[in-house]
Symmetry: C2
Subunit: 348 residues, 2 copies
């Protein structure tokens, strides 16, 4: 028998709100019969929505709150006033052991702030990181940090590598993930001080990963490794630049389609192929950014996620919990317990 | 009458070598009748190639050398031993006033190193930068630094903004370019210290540019501004990530084409539209990365450039020289001459 799991759902979060989150939860409920759901949000809104789905009967419990963190709220104000919001209470349920993972499609900065202040950073980790799964040619790739930390030293980067590898092991089921540091060249002499020092530490470390050294930006899309590690400034900009490039090409394809009668006919025939590409690159099929390095699990779904995308984010949550990601990270950090440069917090 | 210009061509550089560089120079010679060319490289190789092109007769002079910097040479060894190579001598011709601009499709790191050591950094600039022109939806965009400097402070970023704006004015003919700093968010509180400080300085400065504040990675491809400023680490990774994403989508398109009989027919009809996209994104139509901030002009063509792409790089060289980019930069730096935090070198 599979171990049960309780998921705390911020049912009010996301551009499409409760209609999407409840439908997404219902899809996940079918996929994971052992799961139960705490639905945080407005009673009068959620009750009729939940009643529509057979898979949620007797498995979804509403926890009423009328407070909501809005998409445009500043993280700082959300931290001050959002503790009783659907988002804040979902995170709190994890903190208090009522739920195993919290899921939200709401304001990223607010969720990161509330998660950090409520769950606190785990021993051995200096700073938590935001990780996601990106589509690439050869395989799906884990990338972190995506913006939680703008200034990172080698210690942070090494910890990100450990957390990213654990994420790849638990969610993508890579037993010995290939890990690389994002850099401006692949030679040992290239790059910033922190990147070079982190490479040296990872090369000598005995960790459940295959450290592949440096990787350049153009290799992310190919999928040459399982985990790409970088600081939050570079990671945020790289991922957004990739998104922007994909949008640019999609727009150019649209314009190419409307160019003349012949191209229009051509694209009608090519549509099957183009739909296949769209599906391959669709963020909904790779949904679920996660905050790693906290004393508890929080998954961030895309704000514009569809219901099926939301179910993917819940799947990420289930996989992380099932495969004990926090224990894996704790174990790996112990390998460094003698190395003060890497895990000072373990000694506190 | 247009002012004459003398171009120093590293005729041995580039993946395709002299066949490509000589043909590219010949194309540029037709476009710029006032230009003359010093062709650095092996006499016995270059002479028969040059003889093939009418446009080069009496306008291309061979400067023989049998030394060549190879693509795989390390920049450090190229700097030590490459001074008498075709690349080293082309740069030296600029230093000694024999030529107005040097052009090479060779090893980027070696060219950067040789250019820096031969031409030296111009007064008022702490560090030179590598800039390029990227295709975007609304317009062509200048982006810098692309890897010359991995660690940058606010002073460097402000100087990059000044140089990038001058590049936009001279080569893309934007009279008052819109300039933005790449960041992880558009709000004033976001980002690293250096980015926030640079924004404050640029906001208060009186410069021939329109400072637009921060820009996120996904806006680069849209073309919301004329100049995108960032440190060399982030810039290198962002541009390479964009290239990688474009390649990923191109490969997916290829696979979509071969999916079945119907998609093949579709893509044959759609070919006109797809070729138009390919042309829009082709690096050859936006060829020519430039080193800004030196006492002399050096243009780097893509290593894999075609002859017509090489002619584009020569065009960038001609435009920079014609429109006196170095004088423009010097003038703008004077606006800061009282501000020690930004232009210390001017006072030396």
């Amino acid at each position: 028998m599979t171990k049960g799991i309780i998921l705390a759902i911020d049912a009010m979060g996301g551009d499409k709100g409760p209609v999407m989150t409840v439908e997404g939860t219902a899809i996940a409920a079918k996929r994971f019969p052992e799961a139960r759901f705490l639905m945080f949000g407005k009673n009068q809104v959620l009750r009729p929505l939940i009643a529509q789905y057979k898979s949620l009967q007797d498995r979804a419990e509403i926890r009423h709150t009328s407070d909501v963190v809005e998409m445009e709220d500043k993280p700082s104000s959300a931290i001050r006033t959002g503790r009783n919001s659907s988002m804040g209470l979902a995170v709190k349920a994890v903190k208090e052991g009522e739920a195993d993972v919290a899921i939200s499609a709401g304001n990223t900065g607010a969720l990161m702030g509330l998660a950090k202040i409520t769950l606190r950073t785990m021993p051995g980790i200096s700073r938590p990181a935001l990780a996601t799964i990106l589509p690439a040619l050869k395989r799906d790739v884990v990338m972190l940090d995506l913006g939680a930390n703008v200034d990172c030293d080698e210690k942070n980067l090494v910890q990100f590598a450990i957390m990213g590898a654990a994420f790849s092991r638990t969610v993508l089921h890579q037993t010995l993930p290939q890990v690389a540091l994002l850099n401006v060249g692949v030679e040992e002499l290239k790059g910033s001080d922190s990147v070079k020092k982190a490479a040296k530490i990872l090369k000598e470390a005995n960790l459940p990963m295959q450290f592949e050294g440096f990787l350049e930006g153009d290799s992310i899309g190919i999928g040459d490794v399982d985990v790409v590690v970088t600081d939050g400034f570079t990671g945020n900009i790289a991922v957004k630049t990739a998104e922007g490039t994909a949008k640019l090409i999609a727009e150019l394809l649209r314009r190419a389609f409307y160019r003349n009668f012949i191209t229009r006919i051509g694209f009608l025939f090519a549509k099957g192929g183009l739909d296949w590409i769209r599906k391959h690159l669709d963020p909904n099929t790779h949904n679920g950014a996660v905050f790693l390095g906290l004393n508890g699990l929080v998954v961030k779904s895309h704000g514009s996620s569809s219901a099926s995308g939301y179910a993917e984010a819940i799947q990420v949550a289930v996989e992380m919990h099932r495969n004990n990601i926090i224990e894996l990270i704790t174990e790996d950090l112990k390998n460094f317990s003698g190395d003060e440069a890497v895990t000072p917090a373990l000694k506190e």
